[in-house]
């Protein structure tokens, strides 16, 4: 009968190294430590993290809009000063970046919509492509409405 202490000698018998901390009949699993920068290891993970982080730009845009309304309530002079601040070059650069982040977030988010929505028309399932087109159409419509209000009225 093989004794437990003999099992440790077996690797040495075939010329292999021996792990001194190994105990026969005591499973010693290896658990890999997941790296902090795991999202750099794969393009899809990086895209996911970018999508999540660019939600900060969405939050910023919402806060900016509320701030603008609040400044408007403080009178004409305060609002004019705020407008001048918004068109200064550093703010324009920051807002250009925010716009890029917003577009990235919006497109990647809308592209996921068909995964979450399984819509039906009667007994038939609406195709994913139709759900996607519907979302983009609603986005374009809302954008056109804002552009019309600001420019075309």
């Amino acid at each position: 009968m093989t004794r437990p202490e003999d099992l440790n000698r077996l690797p040495r018998a075939v010329g292999a190294a021996v792990n001194p901390s190994y105990k026969p009949y005591h499973p010693k699993w290896h658990r890999k430590r997941y790296p902090v920068f795991w999202w750099l290891g794969k393009f899809a993970y990086g895209k996911f993290i970018t999508r999540e982080l660019t939600s900060l730009a969405v939050g910023y845009a919402a806060v900016l809009l509320m701030l603008e309304i609040w400044v408007l309530s403080r009178g004409q002079e305060a609002y004019t000063r705020f407008q001048e601040l918004l068109v200064s070059p550093p703010v324009l650069i920051v807002h250009g970046l925010v716009l890029l982040f917003l577009l990235f977030h919006s497109v990647t988010w809308l592209n996921l919509a068909p995964k979450a929505l399984a819509l039906r028309l009667g007994r038939k399932r609406i195709p994913d492509a139709a759900v996607l087109v519907g979302h983009y159409a609603a986005w374009l419509f809302a954008t056109a409405l804002v552009v019309w209000y600001l420019v075309g009225r």
Binding site: N19, Y22, P27, Y45, L112, A116, L117
Partner: protein, 247 residues
């Protein structure tokens, strides 16, 4: 084109080494060979101590999932020649403890799978004399996609959330719970919701989406989880606005 290819295999022999090491093997590069054929060649001709799981060789049993060149794949369904001239890196599935070489411990997945009760639950069983429970093709189509899961765990390997939060029930178990929730013969949705609507259930998922990308059977676990999030939210709202209504 070279007639051989190098496989770099992650070896872990706890009686020999504390940490996994890489070992290279030269195997024939044949057009009709899968990665699993390369592993079998090593086992039969070069090093009989190499450990890995496989069974059916036809993408049905879900045993031979491994990470090849960073991607979780079924090695019986991945052509050696389709991965370039090598070297190929073969590792065990991510997120699971490694027992030996390419063999991982799957007990955590099995426990989670059982916790979502992946079987048909009836309020009342009909006597056999009344015959089978019939379904229309539309009712079958509701859940068929999710029923294709072969428990290969590639989705767990691709999910960074499972690796970071081991309590997460995970993609396949949730997709299989949905498979039964959507089955017209099943009445167990409320029982499963108690498990799925916890933080460790659907709410742990941040929709990375890679689980659906790597799934060899197009089960779309990411879609199943997001749809269940909508359902759970609707149920929560219903219970808030109409506390007298039954779930």
């Amino acid at each position: 084109m070279s007639d051989s290819i190098t496989l770099q295999i992650q070896r872990y022999r706890p009686e020999e080494e504390e940490e996994p090491v890489w070992q290279s093997f030269e195997v024939p590069r044949r057009d009709e060979w899968m990665v699993l054929d390369g592993l079998n060649y090593i086992k039969d001709n070069l090093d009989g101590s190499l450990s890995y799981r496989w069974a059916c060789r036809m993408g049905v049993c879900g045993s031979c999932g491994m990470v090849v060149n960073g991607e979780p794949v079924l090695t019986c369904a991945t052509y050696l020649a389709g991965l370039g001239t090598g070297p190929l890196r073969v590792e065990p599935l991510e997120g699971f403890p490694v027992i030996r070489d390419l063999v991982v411990d799957i007990q955590d997945f099995i426990d989670k799978l059982v916790s979502v009760k992946p079987w048909i639950i009836r309020d009342e069983e009909r006597p056999l004399s009344e015959g089978e429970y019939l379904q229309t093709p539309e009712e079958l189509a509701e859940y068929k996609q999710h029923s294709m899961c072969i428990n290969c765990m590639l989705c767990y390997s691709a999910c960074p959330i499972y690796a970071l939060e081991p309590d997460f029930i995970g993609p396949a178990a949730i997709a299989l719970a949905q498979r039964y929730n959507l089955d017209s013969r099943d009445h167990g949705a409320a029982q499963r919701m108690d498990v799925l609507s916890q933080h460790e259930g659907i709410w742990c998922c941040t929709f990375v989406g890679e689980c659906s990308v790597v799934c060899p059977k197009n089960v779309d676990p990411a879609g199943a989880i997001q749809r269940y999030k909508l359902k759970a939210t609707a149920e929560w709202l219903k219970s808030l606005l109409m506390p007298w209504s039954k779930r």
